[in-house]
Amino acid sequence: MRRVVITGMGVFASTGKDRESFFANLLQARSAVRRITQFDPSALSVQIAAEVADYSPADYFPPKRLDLLDRFSQFGLLAASEAMKSSGIEFRDEERPRFGVVTGSGMGGASTFDSGYFNLYAKQATRLHPFTIPKIMHNAATSQICMEYGAQGPSLTTATACSSSGHAIGQAFHLIKFGIADVMLAGGSDAPITYGMIRSWESVRVLASGDGDPSRACRPFSADREGLVIGEGAAMLLLEELEHAQQRGAKIYAEVAGYGMSSDASHITQLSVEGPARAIRMALQEAQVNPGDVDYINAHGTGTRLNDATETQVIKEVFKEHAWKLAISSTKSMHGHTMGATGAIELVATVMAIERGMIPPTANYTRPDPGCDLDYVPNQARESPVRVAVSNSFAFGGLNAVLLIRRFE
């Protein structure tokens, strides 16, 4: 059976515009959540988000290119750029049909939608800009990345809300494993911090208000948690068939060993225990890993009352007594919930934890909740070897994606 390894990684997020600064900030438990600056949030009851700060697109893209790039595509291209550079990969023309791109996005070109509809409804515009469609479509980032790197192989976009990039990476893994492609760039990007989008989330009543200190707003698994914080950004990983990677002497960061997916088929927003548990078991089974061999879980850990308590139950259900021994953390406490990008951003954190033997903490943890009684690596990064790690993504809509990563040996 073909094995699949990770040979490149890139991040462009609120907690860091490259993977080194991203991971360094996570280890320092530094949250990027702050008052929203992309628009005036004064009218909102929730005025905070994990924004990519000090970002000027013109610093990264020529004007003609930028005309066609929504913010989520920009982030996707920037993360892809770091991933491709770090891999050192080059393609001959005949290899390009075996190189594809799968990226996830929950919200697509949200800011283009927002400004377009504002012009249409509020300003009574009679026509919209002709670039609206090519900018808002969910596959815009995937297609832009394909064009940038000449990826002519199997390429697609996943839109499964918060699981989008977990699914994207999982599908890319299987495309290589089952011989459809040799190299895949996979990840996710989202830029959902718009007035309309925050208003929509606000009314679901799952957002933390961040009264007082915004950076402390997201407190996953903590007894005083009060909700999630919306974030933005992107992460991309280069997945490669093992022999292909070895032949070109690539640096191997880790191995993708298992991928589980499932559907709760029960409730549109409330996650179940059984669905996510099945996805984790499926990933363990594919990797032929025993539950007791897992050292670290990068949790979905949104910081809502419901998610964190249910996810804790899921982990106990699958791992039994080992649930109390493994390390669990939610880096969403720092980079926020980046929707379709979150699975990929968290997978980079997971791979770097394996690579460095350092587990990023759950920031802003204050006190134990009786419903969340496992080891969440509170507030302080932990030096600990990680051989096998699991990254959870559970989405609104009940579509779950779980990735199992193994140290390459």
Partner: protein
């Protein structure tokens, strides 16, 4: 207002080109204007001149001069039926 000057200004702005490169005789192909760029330029012209350019007329705009001529006629409220007839004879503009 000089229509020619305005058209050149808009094409240069939308294509991020120096306006000296946008001569009256330049074709869209020479200026690197593809089908999507073309609709973007049409949108900018419609916004600027506050008018609607019918698809049938738009299909004939493949050079700066054609843009200026067609636009001038639309602006002057001239009969554009011959332009429309030409468009009907022409091959479909999609993808070109």
């Amino acid at each position: 207002m000089d229509v020619t000057q305005k058209v050149i200004e808009i094409i240069a702005r939308e294509q991020h080109l120096d306006s000296s490169k946008v001569t009256l005789d330049a074709t869209f192909a020479e200026l690197g204007i593809d089908s999507l760029d073309g609709v973007n330029i049409l949108f900018a012209l419609e916004e600027e001149f506050k008018l609607d350019i019918p698809d049938s007329v738009a299909q004939n705009m493949k050079s700066v001069r054609q843009v200026v001529d067609s636009l001038t006629r639309v602006l002057e409220g001239q009969d554009i039926s011959d332009l429309v007839a030409m468009a009907k004879d022409a091959s479909p503009a999609t993808g070109s």
